[in-house]
């Protein structure tokens, strides 16, 4: 199986003013595009060819760094584009909201915990909302690791991820990562996060 760079469900400018069109275009075509090409190179002709990424991640510590870095980069960005939406200002509802309230006390508490996880990544990485043994957790991983990998400190199903590599926000926010994190809450596709929670 050859991995392909997915098309986005919205225009590059659709997430403005929270994420600008130039950032979206470079992030998707160049960064995500490079992870896609390098992932295909890394698994071509190896025993991993044809396996799903979810399967590969389970034993990622046994595979070369190129598979971990580019496989994570490919998967994480796929998820990121999906959980973003131009319909700004929505909030979680139904079963997902109940689960958030149960695990974090309130939606506000969850936002604080997730924002803190995103702000405290030192260097490059991701913040995650993870479903783990029926509970929800806010966590983070370095570089392109994710909670499906055996190397992750908190393992589980990633429901939502926020890219805090500097390339995700530098053109618009420069050193102000907290402003980027605050902007993110305006463009979360909560229906998509809920779908992943119910799966």
């Amino acid at each position: 199986m050859v991995f392909e760079l997915p098309k986005l469900d919205y225009d590059y400018k659709a997430l403005e003013p929270y994420i600008d069109a130039q950032t979206m275009e470079i992030h998707h075509t160049k960064h995500h595009g490079a992870y896609t090409a390098k992932l295909n190179d890394a698994i071509k002709g190896t025993e991993l060819e044809g396996k799903s990424l979810e399967d590969i991640f389970k034993n990622i510590s046994e595979h070369p760094a190129g598979v971990r870095n580019n496989g994570g980069g490919y998967y994480n960005h796929n998820l990121f584009w999906k959980i973003l939406s131009p319909r700004s200002g929505e909030e979680p509802t139904g079963d997902l909201l109940n689960a958030i309230n149960k695990s974090f006390g309130s939606f506000e508490n969850f936002k604080n915990e997730f924002s803190t996880a995103a702000a405290s990544v030192f260097g490059s990485g991701w913040a995650w909302l993870v479903k783990s043994n029926g509970e929800l957790k806010a966590t983070s991983t370095p570089n392109q690791d994710n909670p499906l990998m055996d190397v992750a400190s908190v393992k589980g199903i990633p429901l939502m991820g926020l890219d805090v590599w500097e390339h995700a926000y530098y053109l618009k926010y420069q050193n102000r990562r907290p402003d980027y994190i605050a902007a993110f809450w305006n463009i979360v596709a909560w229906d998509e996060v809920a779908k992943r929670y119910l799966k």
Binding site: I26, K30, H31, A34, A65, N69, F122, G123, S124, G125, P142, N143, Q144, W165, E166, H167, Y170, L171, Q174, N175
Partner: protein, 191 residues
Amino acid sequence: MNFELPKLPYALDALSPYLGEKTLEFHYGKHHNAYVNNLTGLVRGTKFENAKLEQIIKEAEGGIYNNGAQVWNHTFYFFGFSPDGKREPLGEMADAINKSFGSFDQFKEKFSKAAATLFGSGWVWLVKKDNSSLEIIQESNAGNPLRSGLKPILTCDVWEHAYYLDYQNRRPDYINAFWNILDWDVISSRF
């Protein structure tokens, strides 16, 4: 003790077009400055309150290490540049590079490759070992070779903030530009 942001020996637009004024404004004025302020706040009331940066780099962990090393790394990085310095190593520095890498060109190629392939945020270093030979090493995030007893000679910051305003995803273009602003008088004196 308050740590201080050192004054740069050149203007913020002096390295243009290789590194733009805006990049320096943020990289030096915001990132470097924030590491200085964070460190000053973090050491208060700890055993590192009056420590030198080198001691912090060798002994501290977590946030104190990260911020202390980042202060040292950025000072070392920015002071290796000048708008009109010698662009090639001379004398003993040149001899040592030729001895360890074959030629200056071969050294540049190897150092550039190490900088291009470092995954995520970090620093590439030229270091001097106990036997005076030179080595290129990659360190992620705040990593500093003093911690493992090596002597830093030259460094390249490959955190995305170092080049994103000028080069975006094109890190190799940033690394090419890097060679045009190095001051080998300063770098050789470290050797």
